[in-house]
């Protein structure tokens, strides 16, 4: 069994050497992919989920990756987040090639550089909101007092200051996603990856969550990359990347005009529904 043991100082220095410069330098691009391909084996058939994706994402951008289900956007999300390995091609986070990282460095990156938000929230069910938010800080070795303080601060920031000790089951979907957002920001990452963050929420709550993400994007200068088919996202995105059949179909710069009509319809729906939550 190949189980990494506790790191030696030498190893830590090596990681610092490899990842440190990337963190310190001001590179314009926080995420880059080159000829990214992913092929799944379904029985005897090979299915190309991604068929050559080249992408450059600037620091501080708010990006939406849009596309119908099965278009490969979740696969792209997993590749960028280092959650799965590409069949071919490379992903660079802060100019570091993910394929070159070992298990420690990948964990280090997931812990501090990337914050993940999922459609299904993925909170740890037995832990309270505060414990969920402080968990990534435990992995980062933050002392207990600092963890608590920062956890409370983050939960206040997402509007859950009065729900610190509630378990996920005692929270609504929107509140759970707020906890997940607070958790994603726990170690002050430079990238937030959100996979269908509004997929399990109603229109109004979804809109609030998108608003919160946009606020945090501007406030903290964090890059937000969101795989979604929620049109509400277009309004806040700096760029929208349309994926179809595993390739980029087109990239659109933000253009409010296009979506205003769609959003007006949704606003009307929200008002009609009132406080359905």
């Amino acid at each position: 069994m190949q189980m990494p043991e506790g790191l030696t100082p030498e190893k830590a220095e090596e990681i610092q050497e490899r990842l440190g410069p990337a963190l310190e330098q001001v590179s314009e691009y926080v995420v880059r992919t080159r000829n990214l391909r992913k092929t799944y084996q379904m029985g005897k058939v090979l299915v190309g989920a991604l068929r050559g994706v080249d992408l450059d994402i600037k620091r501080g951008e708010y990006i939406s990756i849009m596309g119908p289900s099965g278009s490969g956007k979740s696969t792209l999300f997993n590749m960028i987040g280092g959650l799965d390995k590409p069949t071919e091609g490379s992903v660079y986070i802060n100019e570091v090639d993910l394929a070159q990282l070992d298990a420690y460095e990948l964990a280090w990156l997931r812990c501090r550089t990337i914050g993940y938000i999922f459609q299904t929230f993925n909170l740890i069910p037995v832990m309270t909101a505060l414990e969920n938010v402080t968990l990534p800080m435990i992995f980062a070795g933050v002392p207990e007092d600092d963890r608590k303080e920062r956890g409370i601060e983050l939960l206040r920031r997402v509007g859950l200051g009065d729900r610190l000790h509630h378990k996920p089951a005692e929270l609504s979907g929107g509140q759970q996603q707020r906890v997940a957002i607070a958790r994603a920001f726990a170690n002050d990452p430079s990238i937030i990856l959100a996979d269908e963050p509004t997929g399990n929420l109603d229109l109004k709550t979804g809109k609030e969550i998108i608003g919160l993400l946009k606020e945090l994007n501007e406030e903290k200068g964090v890059t937000v990359i969101s795989a979604t088919h929620d049109l509400k996202m277009i309004d806040v995105s700096d760029r929208v990347i349309w994926i179809r059949d595993g390739v980029i179909a087109r990239i659109e710069e933000r253009s409010k005009l296009q979506v205003e009509a769609a959003l007006a319809v949704e606003d009307a729906l929200i008002e009609e529904g009132g406080n359905s939550q």
Binding site: E5, A12, G20, E24, V26, N122, I124, G141, G221
Partner: protein, 221 residues
């Protein structure tokens, strides 16, 4: 916003910070594991109950053999064969029961393991957490289960063959006529229960931890 971006880009961790970051706090793993056991008390009790019963059964078989010896039962060939059969079955039932319970309790948490990986947990931290959890549960359940098996079977033997049997049984480490006494068998049962629990938890936990995070998250039970 531009300032925020600049500030973020200029801020890198110092070497000392990284060293601190990479230390995997055992006490923290212990604390989380303990919380898992106590918070999911109902689920833990079911798993622990299986370990308890398995070890109790094994220990009761050992006690029964010891009581039979003490009662002066003639140990002819068929009797020995019967007891060997019982002890073997005891081992098997104990083993299968424990492995089954622990496999289930870890497998139903694959998604959690995937989430922890996303949050930056090292594989070794995840495995260590499950090891501590299974070890704790295994130890408590096996200690009490072994004791229960011993006491119940002793009481049953005393009820059937009179209390004098209890005095003649080999309670210590070794038996009077050679071989081992009940203390040795008790420790054997407890050790077996605990080791099996740990192994049965570690293998699936390690498998889940070494999966790509995306695959662990996708796992549906």
């Amino acid at each position: 916003m531009a300032e925020a971006i600049k500030e973020r880009a200029s801020r890198g961790p110092t070497r000392g910070e990284i060293r601190k970051q990479i230390q995997l706090p055992l006490s923290e793993a212990f604390r989380i594991s303990w919380r898992y056991v106590t918070i999911r008390l109902g689920r833990s009790l079911i798993t622990a109950g299986t370990i308890f019963l398995s070890v109790a059964f094994l220990m009761s078989v050992f006690t029964m053999v010891a009581a039979a010896k003490a009662a002066g039962q003639e140990l002819d060939q068929p009797t020995i064969a019967r007891y060997t059969w019982l002890v073997t079955m005891g081992f098997l039932i104990c083993g299968v029961g424990i492995v089954n319970a622990l496999l289930m309790s870890v497998t139903e948490r694959f998604r959690e393991i995937g989430t922890m990986k996303c949050l930056g947990a090292l594989d070794s931290f995840i495995v260590r957490m499950f090891l501590i959890e299974a070890g704790l549960m295994g130890l408590f359940a096996a200690l009490t289960g072994g004791l229960a098996g011993l006491l119940l079977m002793s009481a049953w033997s005393a009820f059937r063959a009179g209390f004098s049997v209890l005095g003649k049984m080999d309670w210590g480490w070794t038996g009077q006529g050679g071989g081992y006494g009940l203390l040795a068998y008790y420790l054997l049962s407890v050790a077996l229960g605990m080791i099996l629990s740990v192994i049965a938890a570690i293998i699936p936990a390690w498998r889940a931890a070494s999966l790509q995070a995306a695959d662990a998250l996708r796992t549906e039970i």
